[in-house]
């Protein structure tokens, strides 16, 4: 067993894990953060995406021991303490970017990474390509793409530039 220390949703976390424990297992089974989902066992579906040191990562394809010292943010870490939703969550609600909701935590985390890493604008094409690692089996992606585009001006506090690349 290994002792690991990391920061999860802004709080220090300490855990004892096996070498083989996946980050998603640490989050769900030991830290009881069950908003991060497991939708497949082949690293393809993206329901388990979390932010690790500012990058969107499939937490089912990273060992917990590899997250030693990392800053991890999960879906539970997005809303404000008073319950105010993160702009990305709010836009998923506004644009009905979900049906059953199973893929939503991963979609929201990937959407935030996409918006944050494109400060000069984000095209529909870039959003669709950016979601290649997230699979939705209910609604199709149209409203998810709309929600992410709508979150861009809110997260950057400015208008989306026209014809941005």
């Amino acid at each position: 067993m290994a002792q690991i220390n990391l920061t999860v949703n802004g709080k220090a976390a300490h855990a004892e894990v096996e070498s083989r424990t996946l980050l998603v297992e640490l989050l769900r089974d030991q830290l009881h953060l069950t908003g991060t989902h497991v939708g497949c066992d082949t690293s393809q579906c993206g329901a388990c995406v979390v932010s690790v040191d500012g990058k969107s990562v499939k937490s089912c394809t990273m060992l917990a021991v590899q997250a030693e010292g990392a800053q991890v943010i999960t879906i539970e870490g997005l809303a404000a303490a008073d319950g105010t939703l993160h702009p990305m969550q709010e836009m998923f609600r506004e644009h009905h970017g979900l049906q059953c909701g199973f893929c939503t935590p991963g979609m929201v985390m990937s959407g935030i990474d996409l918006v944050e890493s494109h400060p000069d604008g984000l095209t529909e094409q870039q959003i669709r390509e950016g979601l290649e690692g997230n699979i939705c089996r209910c609604t199709g992606y149209h409203n998810i793409v709309k929600a992410i585009a709508a979150a861009w001006p809110l997260m950057h506090d400015k208008q989306m530039p026209q014809a941005a690349e």
Binding site: R20, S43, S56, K58, T61, L63, S110, G130
Partner: protein
């Protein structure tokens, strides 16, 4: 997943020693193939040696070569201005590997050590005549790839960096499997001072290979038209549920012509 011992050495020598001391130990780079393999219980290593602490990331220009350290991620290669100015085809190739989350963690060294027959990087390394630099020697691309999932690497030998000679122009064209995004067929074409070079991944039944007939045709005239009568033997092709051998042989020609047209 079977359990294993986890080591995270801070120096290349220590990593080599850990791998040399235990025949069942395996190196972990980005883990984008290896961790799924562990999850499926297709491998049962006694120990996993994590290479993340060895300082093996970075990209630099060295004379007429572009040198990429082994733990540099696909994302870093795709976003690098150094790569974009020296070998834009390589940045383009890296930007289309897997998906966004795979590109954040997957590494060039991991991809080359694994030598998946459908991986993108082996085609660039072979077409550009790159040199694989390891913890003990320098290996020419032609000697490095030895059939699918097989390389010249010894069990306790680690890739430290890859040195790519900068071509006059190059391009990579890939027909991705729509589910896995691996290359069903990927063709890397380069125009170098020594002539045209064409390497094909995803298609061959023994991993990445150079296409001598296409190289000869492109040496006559470096145009897509020069390839229109060049065929690819079906007997060399891999066939599976995604594409039969005839289809793959056809796609090799289509992707090669697209790559020639896209060369810059």
């Amino acid at each position: 997943m079977y359990d294993f011992e986890y080591h995270k050495p801070g120096a290349i020598d220590d990593a080599v020693k850990a791998l040399g001391a235990d025949a069942e130990a395996k190196a972990l780079a980005g883990g984008m193939t290896f961790i799924p393999v562990l999850k499926q219980r297709l491998a049962k290593p006694s120990a996993v040696v994590d290479l993340a602490g060895l300082g093996l990331t970075g990209i630099r220009r060295e004379g007429n070569a572009l040198v990429i350290k082994a733990m540099t991620t696909h994302r870093e290669v795709a976003m690098s201005s150094e790569v974009a100015s020296a070998i834009p085809a390589l940045a383009e190739l890296a930007s289309n590997i897997g998906d966004r989350q795979v590109r954040y963690r997957g590494t060039i060294g991991g991809s080359l050590a694994n030598n998946d027959p459908s991986a993108c990087y082996p085609s660039a390394v072979l077409a550009l005549g790159a040199t694989i630099v390891t913890s003990r020697r320098r290996i020419a691309a032609a000697d490095y790839f030895q059939g699918m999932f097989t390389t010249a690497l010894e069990p306790d030998e680690l890739i430290t960096e890859v040195s790519f000679p900068i071509p006059e122009k190059a391009a990579y064209a890939k027909f991705p499997n729509p589910a896995s995004r691996y290359a069903m067929v990927g063709v890397f074409v380069a125009k170098t001072a020594a002539g045209a070079r064409v390497a094909v991944t995803g298609a061959g039944n023994d991993g990445v290979f150079r296409h001598a007939a296409m190289e000869a045709a492109l040496d006559q005239s470096f145009t897509a038209d020069a390839l229109k009568d060049v065929t690819t033997p079906e007997s060399l092709m891999n066939g599976d549920i995604h594409a039969g051998t005839a289809y793959r042989a056809h796609l090799v020609g289509v992707m090669a012509r697209r790559a020639v047209m896209a060369c810059k």
